[in-house]
Symmetry: C2
Subunit: 211 residues, 2 copies
DNA sequence: CGTAAATTTGAATGGATTCAAACGTGGTGG
DNA sequence: CCACCACGTTTGAATCCATTCAAATTTACG
């Protein structure tokens, strides 16, 4: 993100940037809070959550290593979601003031930010077409494929059934049922508690794209 | 969008900006095409469509007056969706080259673009929470409320059942059934063909937020 | 006026939800 | 160390909602 900065500018930026480690399930910020800082993910996962009118919550986006959390801060907005860590997660905290300063003096940072915005938009659109259409089986398969793509091997982070459900707009019970079916069919390996599960990518792809 | 430009810059920009009128159902651009231009909507509606693996199509976003169509062009990307007009629509065509030029000389345009990106993101998130959760009745009610908010009166653009369905991830038949029910209950007025329908906002709100 | 396309309605089916209970896991305190 | 509780997951059975397939109806357009 800070490519194209001069050494001086970089140093100036770095003094105000903190490196933070959150444990699993921590709230990073709450929707509506004044946006004092944005974050980049160095390790772990972050979920952006929005409350439904009915009181439940829906996961709007899942952010991965390299993604920016709270990018809306860059235009002076308050936070649009509530953000939680999933698994132990390491974040870089970048104060809004630092962004403002650099933004003016350095147009290439502006471009970097635009690229990040577009990436977020792509993720959102993907959620709309892949995670909100098709049967429960199809959605879960697509989510597992998505998660597998984050790791270099075929393991995927063991996400809770509740989180699965609120990402895919299905109940935790159906999420559980579908995963049980996948296990029976060998689409995913036996899930050791909390351990990442091995996925049968070929089989999952076949399930995800019914012809 | 071109606030904060000097008269000279504005003139220079305006010579390359075309004003176009499309009739209903026209394709503005196709997904994957090289992005030579972006557009702003002066009148009408635009739908951004993405093809599902199964061959069907899903409406990812509905753009209204003042929105930017094809904003990804500003970072040199090809089009991420296929764009169609809904109803007769008037667009401003802004060549990518014009954006590039102004982008460098004028940082305030960059900020304007970021705001637009964030707006798109907000719309996408809204689609995820409001148009992809709840029963068919609830989703249709929320869509009608959303459309009503675009007009200043309580009328809302008569969107086809097919488009309704592919916005809400329901079939055209259920969309039709739900609308029939709403008509019976007086949630929407009798729909004169192609004419905008009058909505009973209070009743729709009650349906949209089941307590 | 006649054909094509979109909308509406019906009946049967299937899939997801709901409500409930059982199970396993981890943490706490006796 | 074990009993106990809280919490997430799993499984079951009944219900409900949306889909599917089909046909009738209306609307648009040449």
């Amino acid at each position: 993100m800070f490519a194209d900065l001069t050494p001086d500018e970089l140093n100036e930026a770095l003094v105000v940037i903190d490196d933070l480690v959150y444990q699993s399930g921590c709230m990073i910020y709450r929707k509506g809070d004044e946006g004092n800082a944005l974050f980049t993910i160095r390790r772990g996962l972050v979920k952006l959550v929005r409350e439904l009118p009915e009181g439940e919550q829906r996961i709007v986006r899942l952010l991965k290593v390299g993604d920016v959390v709270g990018i809306e801060v860059a235009i002076g907005s308050s936070y649009k979601h509530t953000a939680f860590t999933i698994g132990e997660t390491e974040l870089c905290r970048i104060p809004a003031s630092a962004i403002e300063q650099l933004d003016i003096s350095h147009p290439s940072l502006a471009r970097q930010l635009m690229v990040r915005w577009q990436n977020s938009l792509d993720d959102a659109d993907r959620a709309l077409v892949e995670f909100s259409t098709g049967t429960a089986e199809v959605r879960v398969a697509r989510l597992l494929l998505h998660l597998s793509a984050l790791s270099h091997d075929a393991t995927c982070v063991d996400i809770g059934r509740q989180d699965m459900g609120s990402m895919l707009s299905i109940t935790t019970e159906t999420a559980s049922r579908v995963m049980a079916g996948f296990r029976r069919r060998g689409a995913v390996g036996e899930t050791g508690r909390g351990a990442p599960c091995r996925c049968n990518l070929d089989l999952l792809k076949r399930i995800a794209n019914p012809d």
